[in-house]
């Protein structure tokens, strides 16, 4: 296979045609288009053919800018003099902005597979490659998992060039570097690494590029695939590369000194490095005024803590430490549990699994059936389970409330990890109450602090100095007082604006 692909283009067009037919299996693949044509140069007819895959390139462009112009050479071009036939074809016939030449069949085949049209000319041992990509693709739409009320409503689509253009629209900085790396042995896909030169830590950029260029695989389909290839701790339950689908968020992450990876055919960009602090931030935080932002952050922290610990605390309390409850609550609990035959822990686990099933079902079923699944699962089954004394009403409240809290997380992907941790905590608290729960918390913190998101640990330092502490990072300050970039990004340029960014305060007359 490799020796065949490494052969060079012949001067004889028939040999080239034969080689292309063999390599592209044109007798088997219906979408391989090979069009032979002639053009006139120096009063001689020159044979040529072009080849491309149907549906991947702009057919009108081929007709108008290659075939039509080739035909027009038969009328009168006698006065036009060029050094060679190839020179004539390149400068007179083809009028495409992107034009490459190649002798290597492997490269030619790769280019044909990547939306290029290849043109061979008789008597010339090189092939012309024109990028004429025209896919059928989605238009720039609204975000799906990062929807917000305030802020921009644009989201990436599956075309890399559109996505990079969207990012360039926000970051009008010539220092924004978008480096391209091709990955995939069999089906090559384009991956880009984006960073701002002089701002992003070069060590992190180097590390990411090194990891990407040393991937040896057949195919990389999306950014998520790529993320799994380059992340440090594969088996950690916490994702280490933060996904986002909003170009404005990517722009703000780049400006914080982070690196962004993006692949062709993927509407999701991966942000590196990311930490637990990012779990508390949503896409619209940058647009909200500071007081609302503060309240929202408090709510999110409460939501995360509740989602993680509430079921485990419930199990630990009712199983081991019932005496700490006020008497009236303990009595109510006992009354609601009177006829329930199964232990607390089984109750909670059953209900949690039911909740997960409901969540999965709602994602899979058609949109119009979704609400019905919610009503049947959430209301009817829950209500019936309590009435039939299978589940205690307290458990229903706990599980329901936990579920709501889990949905309050701005970063949908991080909730996968938290959900897994929650089950571990439930089991631990059943084994040995608060002592085991404490061990679970330690385990969670060990996982976080031992997981690396290329460049930093997921758990950043709690406090380095007054400008670098986690409280300040979680509770976003007013826009005018965000002088420092997040310390965990380890940006080369640590300051984003001077201490006095509102100079009008001094200009205005009192």
């Amino acid at each position: 296979m490799s020796s065949k692909n490494n052969q060079l283009v012949h001067k004889n067009i028939d040999d080239n045609l034969n080689a292309i037919n063999i390599r592209l299996f044109s007798d088997l693949s219906y979408d391989v288009i090979i069009r032979e044509f002639k053009f006139r140069y120096n009063k001689k007819d020159v044979k040529a053919f072009l080849v491309f895959f149907e549906g991947m390139i702009n057919k009108d462009f081929v007709n108008q800018n290659i075939l039509f112009r080739a035909n027009s050479t038969f009328q009168s071009n006698d006065n036009i003099k060029y050094e060679s036939v190839a020179d004539f074809f390149e400068n007179f016939v083809i009028s495409n902005y992107s034009l490459e030449k190649s002798q290597n069949f492997k490269k030619i085949i790769d280019k044909i597979c990547s939306n290029n049209c290849a043109i061979f000319i008789d008597g010339y041992d090189q092939c012309f490659l024109c990028d004429m990509a025209q896919h059928e693709h989605r238009a720039v739409g609204t975000p799906t998992f990062e929807s917000s009320v305030k802020g921009t409503q644009e989201a990436f689509n599956e075309v890399l060039n559109t996505n990079t253009a969207l990012i360039r629209k926000y970051v009008k900085d010539s220092n924004l570097i978008i480096e391209q790396i091709n990955i995939g042995k069999r089906a090559s896909n384009t991956c880009t690494v984006m960073y701002i030169k002089g701002l992003t830590n070069p060590k992190i950029v180097k590390k990411i590029k090194n990891r990407i260029s040393n991937i040896d695989t057949d195919i990389i389909i999306t950014t998520d695939n790529l993320s799994q290839f380059i992340e440090t701790n594969t088996f950690s339950i916490i994702p280490q590369i933060m996904p986002t689908e909003k170009p404005d968020r990517v722009a703000s992450f780049l400006m914080q000194g982070r690196c962004v990876i993006l692949t062709n055919n993927s509407p999701i960009a991966g942000v590196i490095p990311s930490t637990v602090v990012d779990w508390f931030h949503s896409g619209e935080d940058g647009y909200l005024r500071a007081p609302f932002n503060f309240i929202l952050k408090l709510i999110r922290i409460a939501a995360i803590l509740t989602a993680l610990f509430l079921p485990a605390l419930y199990i630990a309390t009712v199983t081991y430490h019932i005496d700490i409850l006020p008497t009236n609550i303990a009595m109510m609990l006992a009354a609601s549990r009177e006829a329930v035959p199964i232990p607390f822990v089984i109750e909670v686990i059953i209900m949690e699994i039911a909740f997960e099933l409901l969540r999965e079902a709602e994602v899979r079923v058609p949109t119009k059936v979704g609400p019905i699944v919610s009503i049947v699962g959430g209301l009817i089954l829950g209500q019936l389970a309590v009435e039939a004394n299978i589940i205690c009403s307290f458990t229903m409240i706990i599980v329901g409330f936990t579920g709501i809290c889990m949905y309050a997380l701005p970063n949908y992907y991080s909730s996968y990890g938290l959900r897994s941790i929650r089950y571990i905590l439930i089991i631990l608290s059943f084994i040995n109450g608060y002592l085991a729960l404490s061990f679970g918390v330690l385990l969670f913190m060990v996982i976080l602090s031992d997981t690396f998101s290329i460049g930093t640990r997921l758990l950043p330092n709690f406090y380095i100095d007054k400008d670098r502490n986690i409280i300040q990072q979680i509770f976003t300050e007013p826009v005018w007082s965000r002088e420092k970039r997040p310390y965990y990004t380890k940006a080369s340029d640590k300051t984003s604006q001077p201490n006095i960014s509102r100079r009008w305060l001094f200009n205005e007359k009192k």
Binding site: N201, K203, I204, K207, T232, A316, T317, Y320, H321, D323, I324, L325, P326, T327, N328, N432, G433, Y434, L435, A436, L437, S438, F439, V441, L442, L443, M445, V446, S449, D450, F452, I454, G455, T456, R457, L459, N461, F462, Y463, I464, K490
Partner: protein, 384 residues
């Protein structure tokens, strides 16, 4: 990949080292130590704790000044003071001492828990979590412990302050009289034996130099802050104990903090603080005991007994497991505690003072000031 056991890869910031040593010292809150102080000083316990804190601060300030002015850390001092064979014996002794300290830290909490909540469980069955945590944290190394402790130490402060605020309504100022408690001799002289609670300061001599690199005074500042925060909180705790529970009752109790946590609540119908106490203190014991063993292992690596300590994590945990498998009656346990108190004073104060005296005699006129590299950044940014 970075090797956890490599000395050069250990990185922490000033806040983390303060948190670590405060957490280590805060383990005494749950131990027998407050009761010992109250037994000794009576109603003058606050004066007692302030006095021993002050004495320890003065002594240790001199020790730390002597070490870090001339050398990088305690190991450099030991290496320049003793011949290799003695160094190895010392390092093994320190390791065994820290192993015992770690065992006592865990068993203190376990005896507390068994006396109250887990009365039907055996000591070993509830110690399993601690042993797993020991193994896990020791395997992950110093960096992970330092990172976690930054978050955990805040909880202790909040808990103690919360305990104090909740007990305000129950304060009985009569408990603070007579002011000099059991008499000046007990408060100022006999009470000095309680300074054994400052064992963790011995470990400070292992690490201080690394933070001091780049900023000479950071080390002393860290030490001052550790002592200040600990003294304030310990005083606050002792104040809460004496103000809410009569001294005669305190002397007869063993699980003081646990009793207080179950006693204090906003009203009889509200939730009790016991689970929070278990949660907070088991978390700090997980970290503190692991740190002690890690320090012991690090010590034998630095003093060239072993090349890479990470291979000895499992044997250390196995030794701890065996210790927990041996059933020890409370009376014998108390004897071990007494012996440990004497050993602690020896290791915390005696050993560094003796070593420094020999060091200065041996290196008289030859000692050079520890070179401070001003270009080295204070906070080492790791890119992994």
């Amino acid at each position: 990949m970075r090797k956890n056991s490599d000395y050069k890869n250990i990185s922490y910031v000033n806040y983390e080292i303060i948190s670590m040593f405060f957490t280590l010292l805060a383990c005494v809150f749950i131990s027998y130590s407050p009761i010992r102080i109250i037994e000794r000083c009576g109603s003058a316990s606050i004066i007692g704790i302030l006095f021993i804190s002050l004495v320890t601060y003065i002594i240790y300030y001199i020790i730390i000044k002597c070490i870090f002015k001339n050398e990088y850390d305690m190991f450099s001092v030991i290496k320049k003071t003793y011949p290799p064979i003695i160094q190895k014996i010392i390092s093994v002794c320190i390791y065994l001492f820290l192993l015992l300290y770690s065992y006592l830290l865990i068993s203190n909490l376990l005896y507390n828990l068994r006396a109250s909540i887990y009365s039907k469980s055996t000591l070993f069955s509830i110690s399993i979590f601690f042993l797993v945590a020991l193994y896990l944290l020791n395997k992950k190394g110093f960096n992970v412990i330092f990172r976690i402790v930054g978050y955990v130490s805040i909880i202790i402060v909040i808990y103690i302050v919360f305990l104090f605020i909740m007990s305000v309504t129950k304060i009985d100022l009569n408990n603070f009289f007579p002011i000099l408690g059991n008499g000046p001799k007990d408060v100022f002289l006999n009470n000095l034996s309680n300074s054994a609670l400052f064992v963790p300061l011995f470990l400070f001599t292992f690490f201080g130099g690394k933070v001091a690199k780049g900023k000479k005074r950071a080390n002393y500042k860290n030490f001052n802050l550790i002592m200040l925060i600990f003294t304030i909180l310990y005083t606050l705790l002792i104040f809460t104990f004496i103000a809410t529970v009569p001294i005669e009752i305190i002397s007869s109790r063993y699980t003081l903090l646990l009793d207080l946590s179950s006693l204090i609540s906003l009203n009889p119908q509200s939730f009790k603080l016991v689970p929070i106490m278990i949660y907070v203190f088991s978390l700090i014991i997980f970290i503190s005991s692991s740190f002690c063993i890690l320090c012991g292992l690090y010590n034998i690596q630095r003093l060239n007994v072993v090349k890479d300590y990470s291979k000895y994590v499992l044997p250390s945990v196995i030794i701890m497991t065996i210790l927990f498998l041996i059933p020890i009656p409370l009376s014998i346990y108390n004897i071990i505690l007494d012996v440990f108190y004497i050993l602690s004073i020896g290791f915390t104060f005696g050993f560094p003072i003796l070593t420094l005296i020999i060091y200065f005699i041996k290196n008289k006129g030859r000692s050079k000031k520890f070179m401070q590299d001003k270009n080295t950044p204070k906070f080492i940014e790791e890119v992994d």
